[in-house]
């Protein structure tokens, strides 16, 4: 059992932050890597990317959006409760090289993962520019942390309730075409698949290398089942061991979006079943 030592609600309760005691994972995990957890005996195994680690306390922090039965179940746990199973670190270790300037683009709960990755790039000596977006002001997370990390931070909201009115891609366009900063060495995008697809379409035009962090359905997440297969560069890759980071220009996003919707109907069944059970 893995005790939860801190729990906070972010973004009007749609997102939850939990800090879990897992010293061995904290000792090994690198930015961008993830864990798989199973809340209880009847639970699913779900992959979640780690937002922070704290070596001195032996903890890892996860920020996740409540989207279905399993994330709702995880979100319902209180400080002092425990998670039944937790395994990690999973995924390939990302190598952080100095490319000059890195533009990080985050959407929704992806900002948490982006923040961890940008920490890695900043530590490697890169200049870091951040773009983060959400539907409305109240759904933004980690703005202060991002501000502290990035030389420049552009915040967008779809409804214009805060920052720039528009999408993250609009901000990227403004940044690249109007502001023309120093040459951008790399773009890192983490967020909903549709957002990452749009970013990649755009960076292709600018010929900017783009790394995306993918979040397909996984079961064991150790390369054993192939649930998370992704077409990248015309080849089938396993996001759990070959990823979760891929060259965004090689990824077949349409296929992945369809594959990630495979269990939409089951998700409804699960939620209805859990409501009836109560």
């Amino acid at each position: 059992m893995y005790p939860i030592i801190d729990r906070q609600e972010l973004a009007k309760g749609t997102m939850v932050l939990i800090t879990v005691e897992a010293p061995q994972i904290a000792a090994k995990i690198k930015p961008g890597q993830f864990v798989v957890l199973r809340v209880n005996e009847t639970g699913e195994r779900i992959p979640l990317t780690v937002a922070y680690k704290d070596l001195s306390h032996g903890t890892i922090t996860i920020i996740f959006m409540i989207v279905g039965k399993s994330t709702a179940l995880l979100g319902s746990l209180k400080t002092g409760d425990a998670i039944k199973d937790l395994v990690g670190p999973l995924g390939a270790v990302e190598e952080f090289t100095n490319v000059g300037t890195v533009v990080g683009i985050g959407g929704g709960s992806g900002v948490a993962v982006l923040h961890h990755l940008l920490q890695g790039y900043a530590a490697a000596g890169n200049k870091v520019i951040g773009i983060m977006g959400s539907r409305e002001k109240d759904l933004l997370i980690l703005e202060d942390e991002m501000k502290g990390l990035c030389q420049q931070l552009i915040v967008t909201t779809d409804d214009g309730s805060y920052g720039m009115h528009g999408l993250v891609t609009d901000a990227l366009k403004t940044l690249v075409e109007r502001e023309k900063p120093e040459p951008i060495g790399l773009v890192v995008a983490v967020g909903p698949l549709v957002m990452m697809r749009s970013v990649c379409q755009q960076t292709k035009l600018y010929n900017l290398k783009t790394i995306v962090s993918l979040n397909p359905v996984m079961v064991d997440a150790t390369g054993m089942c192939g649930a998370c297969r992704v077409s990248a560069g015309g080849k089938t890759k396993f996001a759990c061991v070959d990823g979760p980071h891929f060259d965004g220009h090689e990824v077949d996003f349409d296929e992945l979006i369809h594959r990630n919707n495979m269990y939409v109907r089951d998700e409804k069944t699960s939620i209805l079943h859990s409501i009836r059970a109560k």
Partner: protein, 605 residues
């Protein structure tokens, strides 16, 4: 034995040509000799240091003979045995009616049945014959007992085990078929060398718990092996009874003994050697890891098994379905190991969470990699990533490990389909097909590129699948998966195959017939064409050299790898194989690990 009397020996007329059989294995002993035009009967003979063959005339009252060793008249041959099963045929009690030497027992075909027949063991003595009393004792032949099983129509609606196993009566009847061969072949057919004749004899005597304990001297997991071993290719293949009849049902008897021991609560722990102070890390809790853990803990070592998943058992819990191997059985065996003192750490992904150096720092003196062949093989066909196409690993893991058959009480959903295509014809393919049926699919078709004779699954599994209504499309290979505009699978395009010359595997090479393409309607496809080595563990073991195909290179049968203090066994060293072969590897590695940790030989290479 009844003392043979001379006046009873006249039943078979002189000049009758006898057909002679071994009384133990019932193998015919006749050997045609073109020189004499007679079919002599052959025995194995040992006299002093000399060993050879003795040929006796098959004609009643004709006492001519010859042998490959020197046997002067008057020699009493003490060691006379069947050339096939090597069981001695010299009787302990009976004596020759003329010279009082011991007699040897044979079987002859006379009066339309097999009857005992005795000959004197003194070379040159003409005494021979049968007795009335013995004739009466000839037992009717008992056929191989069938294992009762759930009816096919019933079982495709549940996940309960298919064979119920032997009852006490059936087990006794089946055990009685064993000949108790002294030079038992079955034992050599077993990768872990279980003393099969001994445990079958104990069952014969009604000592069921003792029988289980006898098996456990060599095999820590009899309830599992009794269920999933391919006995027909191992012990039962070489069983002497099987030469003339169906072999003794060794596997079912093994299962019976183990089940009796567990159900009667009679499981006892073997004596452990005093602690050696050595620590062993076992990576992977499948068949090889569990076997090694049991062996090592009994020898006094401290053993920790690391399992990446949340439940120990490896392929026994994620792969093999409930209806073939109930998970309570696996849990029982694992509890037994825990009671023995084996520590099991789940959620521990070696290679990521701990590497070789970490394990050394934690004080482990030896590491065994038994991580299995857990990498799913895909076919690289167009459309393979459409929705509702799964690897066998994923399909089985969802249903077995994640208990998707109990969805939505358990949260993991199972893939559903009305028309299911399973590609491949091994045991895993049969497991997938039969699971799909139980998950409510209307039609399940196994697609295989070769013919029936080449299907790699056990015959029992193929039979069970067929009884349950699984369809087989043989000599057929998929070439493309066709989806709808939502990218869900709708059809599998296949091509008809023909068989050509044997390929590297020795099986006929399947060749596609051009222009024979056709479509099979399918909304769920499961790819079960094999598995490969999962490389995850190796990031923590850079010193372990692998073969070009990705499996670990081991030095000799001991399972030593190129990294000092690291052994490997099971599928990760041998490639995809069986539960019992993995256990065999573990046994050999265990002997070497023990030797390395306690002996003087510290040289690695």
């Amino acid at each position: 034995m009844t003392e043979p009397k001379k006046d009873e020996l006249k039943k078979i007329p002189a000049g009758t040509e006898l057909t002679v059989f071994c009384p133990h294995c019932h193998q015919g002993l006749g050997q045609y000799d073109p020189k004499t035009g007679k079919t002599w009967f052959r025995l194995h003979v040992k006299s002093g240091a000399a060993e050879g063959e003795l040929f006796l005339s098959p004609v009643m009252e004709d006492f001519s003979k010859h042998s490959t060793i020197d046997l002067p008249d008057g020699t009493v041959v003490k060691d006379l045995s069947c050339p096939f099963c090597r069981t001695s045929i010299v009787e302990k009690e009976g004596h020759c009616g003329i010279c009082d030497s011991p007699v040897a027992r044979l079987m002859v075909l006379a009066h339309s049945k097999l009857i005992p027949f005795f000959i004197c063991t003194k070379v040159g003595c003409p005494w021979h014959g049968i007795t009335k009393a013995d004739e009466q004792r000839i037992k009717p032949k008992v056929p191989r007992q069938k294992v009762p099983a759930q009816d096919a129509l019933l079982r495709i609606r549940n996940f309960q085990e298919v064979p119920y196993g032997f009852t006490r009566e059936l087990a006794l009847a089946e055990a009685a078929r064993c000949l108790e061969c002294k030079n038992a072949k079955c034992r050599t057919g077993c990768p872990v060398e279980i003393d099969i004749p001994a445990f079958v004899k104990l069952i014969k005597e009604g000592k069921f718990v003792e029988a289980a304990q006898k098996i456990k001297e060599k095999n820590a997991l009899p309830a599992i092996c009794g269920r999933v071993c391919p006995q027909e290719d191992q012990c039962e293949k070489v069983c002497i009874v099987g030469l003339k009849d169906e072999p003794v049902a060794i596997g079912s008897l093994e299962r019976f003994a183990a089940d009796m021991e567990r159900e009667t609560g009679a499981v006892t722990l073997p004596k452990k050697a005093p602690p050696t102070g050595k620590k062993i890390a076992i990576v992977g809790s499948g068949p090889s890891g569990l076997t090694l853990a049991a062996d090592m803990v009994v020898k006094g070592h401290s053993v920790t098994v690391f399992e990446a998943l949340h439940k120990p058992g490896g392929v026994l819990v994620y792969g093999i379905p409930e209806f073939r191997l109930p998970k309570t059985i696996v849990d029982g065996e694992i509890n037994y190991l825990r009671r023995l003192g084996v520590k099991i750490e789940v959620n521990a992904l070696i290679g990521k969470m701990y590497d070789a150096d970490d394990l050394k720092k934690l004080g482990y003196d030896a590491v065994f990699l038994g991580v299995g062949a857990g990498l799913p093989v895909f076919m690289n066909l167009p459309g393979e990533n459409l929705c509702n196409i799964f690897s066998a690993n994923e399909y089985l893991t969802r249903i077995n490990l994640m208990k998707a058959y109990a969805y939505p009480d358990y949260d993991t959903p199972a893939p559903k389909g009305r028309q299911v295509v399973v590609i491949g014809a091994g045991n895993v393919a049969m497991d997938c097909a039969r699971n799909a049926l139980r998950m409510g699919s209307r039609e399940v078709t196994v697609v295989y590129r070769r013919s029936r004779g080449e299907m790699p699954a056990r015959k029992e599994e193929i039979d069970h699948a067929e009884e349950e209504g699984i369809k087989f499309r043989l000599m057929t290979n998929p070439v493309k998966f066709v989806g709808d505009n939502q990218r869900w699978l709708r059809q599998v395009e296949c091509v008809q195959m023909k068989l050509g010359e044997p390929d590297a595997s020795g099986r006929p090479r399947p060749i596609p017939i051009a222009g024979s393409n056709f479509l099979i309607e399918a909304d769920l496809a499961i790819i079960a064409v094999g598995a490969g080595p999962n490389p995850v563990v190796f990031s923590g073991f850079p010193g372990v050299v692998r073969e070009p195909n990705g499996y670990i290179r081991t030095i000799g049968p001991s399972g030593r790898t190129s990294q000092r203090g690291v052994w490997a066994g099971g599928d990760i060293a041998t490639g995809s194989s069986t539960v019992i072969s993995a256990m065999g590897c573990a046994r050999k590695a265990g002997n070497d690990i023990h030797e390395f940790l306690t002996g003087n030989g510290k040289n690695w290479n």
